[in-house]
């Protein structure tokens, strides 16, 4: 997808180019709002504000090839502003310890649709920092680490190691979850 071409077409008022950008990046923006635990209404607000700010900046985006990063940064600011207004800033990032036990291998049957619900509940039990990072990494289409770093204000280099530890933790939780365990 040629993002700079879409940006300049949208800046000329091309609705279909704009809609292509919306389709490409809405998943990322939504995941960022959810990573900060915004409610449905606040998440919708944060995403809409991000798009409106892009409209305001369309002909002044300095590096259109970095649009995803610009959107990620803007979405983070919108989320933090909403959280600040409601007096709930995100919890300080806690250290993520390695998972206590080596995670047992998950077999491919986890892909079975009905288990996703149990998996989702287990995911919600993760410590905040893990939940936040993984929620953004789960965006569709998958974001680049550079964008994830901007969305969460983390060093790019820390994402890979933290991702590994957090997935390890989640696997350990899955292993201890009967519903997910007994059918695997």
């Amino acid at each position: 997808m040629d993002i700079p071409a879409l940006v300049s077409a949208a800046a000329r008022g091309d609705q279909s180019a704009w809609d292509a950008l919306v389709r490409q990046f809405s998943g990322l923006l939504w995941s960022i709002a959810r990573a900060y635990r915004l409610s449905d209404a606040d998440a919708a607000d944060a995403v809409q504000c991000t798009w409106i700010k892009l409209v305001e900046h369309l002909d002044r985006i300095a590096e259109p090839e970095r649009l995803a990063g610009w959107l990620s940064t803007t979405a983070r600011h919108e989320c933090l502003q909403l959280l600040r207004r409601s007096g709930r800033l995100p919890a300080p990032a806690e250290e993520i310890a390695d998972s206590p036990d080596p995670a047992p291998a998950l077999d491919h049957e986890l892909l079975v649709r009905e288990r996703n619900a149990a998996l989702w509940r287990v995911f919600e039990e993760l410590p905040d920092r893990c939940r936040r990072l993984l929620r953004v990494l789960m965006a569709s289409p998958p974001p680049a680490y550079a964008e994830v770093a901007l969305a969460l204000d983390m060093p790019v280099g820390s994402i890979g190691p933290i991702r590994q530890r957090c997935l390890g933790r989640l696997k350990a939780l899955v292993a201890g979850n009967q519903l997910l365990e007994e059918r695997s």
Binding site: Q15, N116, A139
Partner: protein
């Protein structure tokens, strides 16, 4: 299952249990219509949230032709503009309302929470719009 595969499973779960709502996509698509190619942009030069979290927010904007000060207190917006007269249009992503400017002052009640901007016509006719701010 390696980490990449596991993340793919999680992505499928997210798509199923926390998808982007259709309304969010519709609003995003509609946002392009909020472009203001015709107007001079009044930039935010000062922003101050007064005391309490819910206290009034004061903002100052400047463009080549006008200066606009806004005080937003809950759903009430009060403004002072110099360099423009007639009416001020208070815009949100879903609404716009014209209110009269009297000796530079204008007031709008019941402004919905969220983004808001104000559009005026400078004395020489130049349309001017402020940046969006969160009320």
């Amino acid at each position: 299952m390696n980490d990449d595969d596991f993340l793919d499973v999680l992505r499928a779960a997210a798509d199923e249990f926390d998808p982007v709502p259709a309304g969010v996509l519709r609003d995003a698509s509609a946002a392009l219509a909020l472009r203001t190619l015709d107007a001079e942009l009044a930039e935010l030069v000062e922003s101050e949230a007064l005391v309490r979290g819910n206290g009034p927010l004061t903002l100052a904007f400047e463009s080549e032709h006008v200066t606009i000060s806004l005080e937003i207190d809950g759903s009430r917006l009060r403004g002072f503009v110099s360099g423009a007269e007639g009416e001020a249009v208070v815009e949100t992503p879903r609404s716009r309302r014209a209110v009269p400017i009297s000796d530079g002052w204008f007031t709008a009640a019941d402004v919905p929470a969220g983004l808001v901007r104000v559009r005026v016509a400078a004395s020489d006719g130049t349309p001017v719009v402020t940046r969006w701010v969160r009320s």
